[in-house]
Symmetry: C2
Subunit: 117 residues, 2 copies
DNA sequence: AGAATACTGAACCATTCGGTTCAGTGTCTA
DNA sequence: TAGACACTGAACCGAATGGTTCAGTATTCT
């Protein structure tokens, strides 16, 4: 399996493990938004939303820029490439594992039949 | 965007956000293992490992069966389909969003040029 | 200038997390 | 049957999470 950045996967999967933060990403996929916009949309205080945005920013999934008194949030540069790759590799492992188990079962069946005859 | 099970995504992304647990999944992709096996491999107490396995089991990523005194862990039925689907949908959103921004930039460039001439 | 807006940081709170130890319980094995 | 083995559950621990309030600061509007 390819070498993944442990800390990076930790951070982004953790970021994705909260429904509010996934919602923020979907929202930013539609349009950039200020902290106030997001806080209202998700029924939360400004401070609370700022923390969520901070988590997403740390994970590289969101970038923000403050102009005047408003901080605008937009999707970050990361497209979840590594996360998608990890999951894809896992799925292949899973398939291989179950194929293997199937073969073992087949083998057992064959032997059983041989023994029986 | 398709309807995903909020709680399920919460649980599985959270399960994946820990390097030890991702390691356990990779390990179980190679061979089934007892709690003792896994605890040794990841330098951790039995109790500690049992908790990790519990988290993975709750997320449906691992199943276990106790025979005699040993509990054998294997990959569960879930293949991270929903998680892969969420990420894929996000990536499409991301692409669409950046295409859109590109268009806006193009538009601005065009206007600028018109104004200049 | 004064009021309203938008954010920020510190402090606090309850809960969860990742890990441990310790004291069992049940299962093998000699 | 005694000892070793594999796990289990409860209790504890410090740190991180997800949220809040409160008291600022900086910016914008009137």
């Amino acid at each position: 399996m390819v070498q993944y950045s442990k800390a990076r996967l930790d951070a982004s999967f953790a970021a994705l493990s909260d429904a509010t933060r996934r919602g923020v990403l979907e929202q930013l996929g539609r349009a950039d938004a200020s902290i106030t916009d997001l806080a209202e949309k998700f029924h939360m205080t400004l401070t609370g939303m700022k923390k969520h945005v901070g988590v997403l920013e740390q994970a590289g999934l969101v970038t923000t820029e403050k102009v005047g008194r408003v901080r605008t949030c937009k999707l970050g540069v990361r497209r979840l490439e590594e996360e998608a790759a990890w999951i894809e590799a896992y799925r292949q492992l899973w398939d291989a594992r179950f194929d293997e188990l199937d073969k073992i079962v087949e083998e057992l069946k064959r032997k059983e039949k041989d023994d029986g005859e």
